[in-house]
Symmetry: C2
Subunit: 390 residues, 2 copies
Amino acid sequence: MLGNFSYCNPTKLYFGENALDNLHTELKKYGKNVLLVYGGGSIKKNGLYDAVMAILKDEGKNVAEDPGVMPNPTIHKLYEGVEIARRHNAEFILAVGGGSVIDYSKALCVSVNSGDDDLWEKYFIRFEEPTCETLPVGAILTMAGTGSEMNAGAVITHPEKKLKMGHVFADEKIMPRFSIMNPRYTMSLPKYQMVAGIYDIFNHICEQYFSGADDNTSDYLAEGLMRSVIKSSRDAIQDPQNYEARSNIMWSSTWALNTLISRGKSGDWMVHMLGQSVGGVTNATHGMTLAAVSLPYYRFIMDAGLPKFARFAQTVWNVDPSGKSERELAESGLAAMESWMKELGLVLSLRELGASEASLDDLVNGTVVLGGGYKVLSKDDVRKVFADSL
Amino acid sequence: MLGNFSYCNPTKLYFGENALDNLHTELKKYGKNVLLVYGGGSIKKNGLYDAVMAILKDEGKNVAEDPGVMPNPTIHKLYEGVEIARRHNAEFILAVGGGSVIDYSKALCVSVNSGDDDLWEKYFIRFEEPTCETLPVGAILTMAGTGSEMNAGAVITHPEKKLKMGHVFADEKIMPRFSIMNPRYTMSLPKYQMVAGIYDIFNHICEQYFSGADDNTSDYLAEGLMRSVIKSSRDAIQDPQNYEARSNIMWSSTWALNTLISRGKSGDWMVHMLGQSVGGVTNATHGMTLAAVSLPYYRFIMDAGLPKFARFAQTVWNVDPSGKSERELAESGLAAMESWMKELGLVLSLRELGASEASLDDLVNGTVVLGGGYKVLSKDDVRKVFADSL
């Protein structure tokens, strides 16, 4: 745990099949004018919209709606939401959906009272903290993956500028005040989206784990989370209706990205940088872009972080170390990870996502290189990793 | 993660060698009249008292002192503190010390405005929640072990009634608003106290881990914490000044008992019940009472929770399962745990703590039997475990 750091995550989590019952108590704490934010309308099909509206009505709330939040919420949609929220004098934002809807709601909560400021420049280029009053946000989570339900992060896309920017706000009051997490809500998701989400979770943990030389408690917690995700993912692909498996995946997802396992760590995040570039070129599902570049990337940097990759093999994948050199052990770990990724049916090649040799220049140019991991990549290194991912 | 549960731990943790710097910012959030609570005065010897007083003065606080909190804070001391706090019109309680000082401060924060209520009956027998206004508590932690820095628990002793009762309050505002955690503060502790604290931490994890048949994420996190504590404890007994080791122990201690790894679990807590009875009879150090009864207890219940004990052997102690029956594997895990306890120099017999055959009746009668673990003990079972611990 070297270094100085702080930790504060006040979000109240309500977990389980009856979690929604707690919406009553929580709503009483906030003002009458509620803005209900959601996505493409799947909550209308599965009955969640009606259940939430009934509770809002029960609690005497005056509700305006901001529907249609897209998978990569845009800055234009954000301005639209600001208009709706201002017209409604919204006092509370209730986000019902996955990471995109919750991310968007957090961006909205800092924007409603930001006056005429250029929201893109202010929050997603200059990364300023809000000085205006922010609105409280509550969340009802319907997908596991991003961890947005218990952090202060918001990712917004500027489509014309082809930029997708994330801002982790400093003030914990930007985090959802509460999140309602019923694993049953995640069960209607198609298998492709389920496994993409599972890999997103797993990679969030890897990004934090594969950095640093110290013997940090965060690494041990990360290993526990990885083992849990591996076990539960194997159960969930056999039977997506396995409640225990889906609930462990949902809970692990929250703890994978709520800052706990990053304490005392520098963090790598290069798989996300490579994957975001792939997303810009192919518009593929986020988790699949990460899956396609992960093994080529980890094999490329493995020698620079050999002790950690050997530990990963033994602790996370139960590889027997006897008779193996440290390097062979490290390789066996990544081989075990590859087998698991195949079991899940994850995308392991950029070609499957629509990229080709002709995309290489765009992929390389779209990649931001960070410096927190075991190796800092040159442009040529980035090109090599992408070429290996084809 | 079966079942419905909630999680909310808003305590802000400041960790590291410069953690105390953050006291300035935090104090600005609270009123002028501060009650400074501490124990036997070791903070006066190591300079912490002076450093804290200087910051309190800097922030213009009006300070009253409530020193002399004992290792097992009594109900009489609590009444004394209430008097001091009322006379001072205290608006904020600053606890500087280990778990006893912080526990006591939480009991005090619900008691100051409780009027003429019988505090013992109200909070530690009837376990009522406070309906009065409570005072905010901040903590500066000087010992790792109890987890009091990030939970809402308080243990108070009634010496005449020979009762030591713990109340985990429901409202998260009873948790310290912030805790300052500098691992250096823990380094002046004698080795006996250090290893007793380490075993207390380890056993907090065991108590939550050894319950339930489900495949809960909490178990995987618990295994990560146990592995971290084992590794760091081995480094710390070689060199108690190993900052990295002491910092991992301090951080693990917080997460071992802040409710995270109990989510979705029933919890056993029988080692603590047995240990508390030993404490009542011998007045021995808490962690050592747990150490003395643990192996006899776990060996006694092992067959009732065989799959979990076998998993414990493999995952926590890296026991090679090949050629072993499940039972042999489970036994090997407890043998590995025994070796580790010997390495640390933990007390493995009640005789060392001053108990004998003559104490058995008192020990048995002083034990509260709980029902959340793998086996519910009869009185005869309890006697057998104590007899095996002699």
